[in-house]
Symmetry: none
Subunit: 111 residues, 2 copies
DNA sequence: CATAAACGTAAGCGACGCCTTACGTAATGT
DNA sequence: ACATTACGTAAGGCGTCGCTTACGTTTATG
């Protein structure tokens, strides 16, 4: 599972704003651009990146193109992060405790 | 909640590799660099970025610096994605829109 | 003190990303 | 057919990113 593209896509603040603006609604490209102080092509380019990353879907209606958040993609991102701390640690509530235990162990058994 | 820094940090493939290599272990900077075909300073710079993003912690032992994954940060990232997911399923777009205007103002006023 | 070991920092280079303005394109209306 | 609407695309400016080599800094050791 290669999550580089979705991660890079969602890392950009402007694209986070677009995703939040969309919410569960379906919006046209121009309507989205109207909410920001950047040019319409800039938003269009962001939408292409989000679409390429699978984070939004596109639907054509007349001359307009309606975009919608693909919540499945966000679920995949969450699953990807789970992968990291299966190797990193057990549970969140014991994270600090485990860290302290590790610090003590390394103090006596450092190479 | 501003997750831009951690997201940009984890979006980079090399830093993903470093985090995976670390796992739950604690490793020195040079030992980490030994696993990749890039220079040691390159890895050192990546580690600074990961540290600044709160994704790893640093501990000094002699002349070495040991790095460790901060799994709490990964938990925060996951919670951040939960925020997006809920926004994509519920109808709270007006509040999200107001948040967008605020974020956009912050961005444009700092250029 | 002097040397070595382990590491971070500085400077610079090529590639990439976000933005702009100008232009091309597909669908609708008159 | 022609104009209009709603877009995407092209080209370029400008900052940022990841990498390199060279140098500085801190800690241990003879």
């Amino acid at each position: 599972m290669d999550m580089e593209e979705p991660l890079r896509a969602i890392a950009e603040p402007r694209r986070q704003q677009i995703l939040r603006l969309l919410g569960d609604k379906e919006m046209a490209s121009g309507e989205i651009a109207g909410h920001f102080n950047v040019s319409r092509p800039a938003i269009s380019q962001h939408l292409q990146i989000l679409k390429a990353a699978g984070l939004v879907s596109e639907r054509r209606l007349g001359t307009r193109r309606l975009y919608q958040v693909r919540s499945e993609a966000l679920a995949e991102l969450k699953a990807f992060l789970d992968q990291f701390w299966e190797g990193a640690l057990s549970s969140l509530s014991e994270a600090a405790e485990a860290e302290q235990r590790r610090l003590d162990n390394d103090r006596t058994s450092s190479q």
